[in-house]
Amino acid sequence: MSQAHQLDKFEAADFINRTHKPIPRSYGDALLAAAKKDERIVALTADLATPTETDIFRDELPERYHNVGIAEANMIGLASGMARAGEIPFVHTFCSFATKRCYDQITMQAAYPNLPIKIVGFLPGVATLLGVSHQAIEDVAIMRAIPNLVVLDPSGPEYHASAVDAALAHDGPVYIRLKRPETPPENDIVPKELRKGEGILAREGGDLTIIAAGLSVTEALAAADRLAADGIEASVVDMASIKPLDAGLVIDRAKATGAIVTAENHSVIGGLGSAVAEVLCDAGIGLPFKRVGLADRFAEGGSTPYLMKKYGLDSTAIIKAARDVFGKKG
């Protein structure tokens, strides 16, 4: 059923790795380790083993690995059948296809029956060379609207192992949007913890709060550093759990700092920014607020730093928004 077909070594240079040097597979290793402990875990992919770091799973546990071909809708259905038979399927493809291509199947066959299907997407937001068809700039918006589904957007590889744990800890469907580094990291990756429903206060400051998720967290922290140099102290929240959202932390920070900027590698419509706006409006908290994200347009392909800069998602854009809301506080 599964094949241990070894790809040519040159193909290690997949769509994501820009260096042709080995890149640590924080997610792939964590999944394999979890699977070795839990018999029920199976992995599926729609033709994307290496780019989703599941080639190691394929090679080590071939009888629990299924490459279903380029057929995402079928993959979700298969996972559903497996979950109904007592397995815990992790399905893998790019974020764009893991959501837009099989949304009905996710709703019907994973979320409605509340099955433990873990949908793991790679290439979140604009972060891909592969252009518009591979960009998931609306995945958070559409996945957030599905009842029962948990949405996690970890900020870096140090959280990937924890994301696997959090996904397993939730007895139901989970969507995880992951970004593999494009180049080998300079330092060793030290695992950190994230939890469903909890934001991480990554930096504390009293002048405003930047609530960020995924790739935008690094940018937010860089922005906070530069703002601090000018005497503006920003709190930074890593909102890895976009759904359920840590509303308590949002309200707490809103009250403590009086101004909020959201930052996300996603369209400004429907994603983290909207989720935070909903919480604030529900609570009747009116304050200076700004959403940093992709400004309702399609992006092209390119390197991640290039795209983050070009589309106004980087620290410079966050600083501008932060100054703006800080100024409005009066």
Binding site: M1, V42, E63, R64, H66, V68, G69, A71, A73, N74, M75, I76, G77, L78, A79, S80, G81, M82, A83, R84, A85, G86, E87, P89, D104, Q105, M108, Q109, Y112, P113
Partner: protein, 280 residues
């Protein structure tokens, strides 16, 4: 599982069960006129064969892990489905009268809130087969004797996902999967050949790696033979192309292409009378 639950092959007995289920279908739909009469009457023999002769299921223990799984992917064909389940003992026959009532779990499209005997919620057409393929694959890996049966609609085969699932089942050689096509030639817009034709069915399925049987889906012996052959086929999934007649059993309704027939009271009355007569 007791011997009494094991496959029975008494054709006369099965035909009389099918006749009873047909009557139930008409009775369930008659009060409101809502429900799928034509499809239910047409596929009564398939459901009878599946639930009363073929599938290893246990109404006393619907969660039984080694059970065979029956997937109704044409989830709107519920009148016959519920009638068969009730008759088989999965729930009280009396509950059939709540069919399509607000708040009743016997909804027009079957959903899992009914209980584990609804193996998947399938009202969005074309999805159930993938779920069944996944379950069949899992059963293989777990070494279970489980067989997966899928009742598929012909119109539904226009959905691309069905072909994704067929391709994977064929490529993986899932001989514990048996797909039964309720080939009634009818879809919303009418006769399927006027919408987008599926023909030739057998050629398509053979090219996707299935063992194919073309049968009369209203002939009990043919259905049983095909199911037997499916069980004996190794290394390939089976596809039973069961030609059925919509409205079967009520002459006034036979062959009448109405996807969502509003069942007029006088027609219902006549149908019930005819079906009662057949029974006795």
């Amino acid at each position: 599982m007791s011997q009494a639950d094991n496959p029975k092959r008494n054709i006369a007995e099965l035909e009389s069960i099918a006749a009873k289920l047909r009557l139930r279908v008409a009775e369930m739909v008659a009060p409101t006129g809502q429900g799928y009469v034509q499809q239910g009457l047409g596929s009564a023999d398939i459901f009878t064969a599946l639930y009363f002769a073929e599938a290893r299921v246990d109404p006393g223990n619907p969660d039984w892990e080694d059970r065979d799984r029956v997937f109704l992917t044409t989830a709107h064909n519920t009148a016959i489905f519920y009638a068969a389940l009730a008759e088989r003992g999965f729930f009280e026959t009396g509950r059939l009268s709540t069919y399509c009532e607000d708040g009743s779990p016997l909804e027009i499209n079957a959903s899992e809130r009914m209980g584990r005997f609804v193996e998947a919620t399938c009202g969005s057409l074309g999805q159930g087969l993938s779920v069944a393929v996944g379950a069949a694959l899992a059963a293989k890996r777990q070494g279970r004797p489980t067989r997966c049966y899928v009742v598929l609609g012909d119109g539904e085969m226009q959905e691309g996902q069905v072909w994704e699932a067929l391709m994977s089942a064929g490529a993986w050689g899932l001989d514990n999967l048996c797909v039964i096509l309720d080939f009634n030639e009818m879809q919303c817009e009418g006769h399927m050949d006027n919408v987008v034709s599926l023909r030739p069915v057998a050629d398509k399925l053979e090219s996707f790696g299935f063992a194919v049987h073309d049968i009369d889906g209203n002939d009990m012996a043919s259905i049983l033979n095909a199911l037997d052959a499916a069980r004996e086929t190794k290394g390939k999934p089976t596809f039973i192309n069961a030609k059925t007649l919509v409205g079967k059993g009520v002459p006034a309704l036979e062959g009448f292409m109405a996807h969502q027939l509003m069942f007029p009271p006088e027609v219902a009355e006549n149908a019930i009378a005819v079906l009662k007569e057949n029974l006795s």
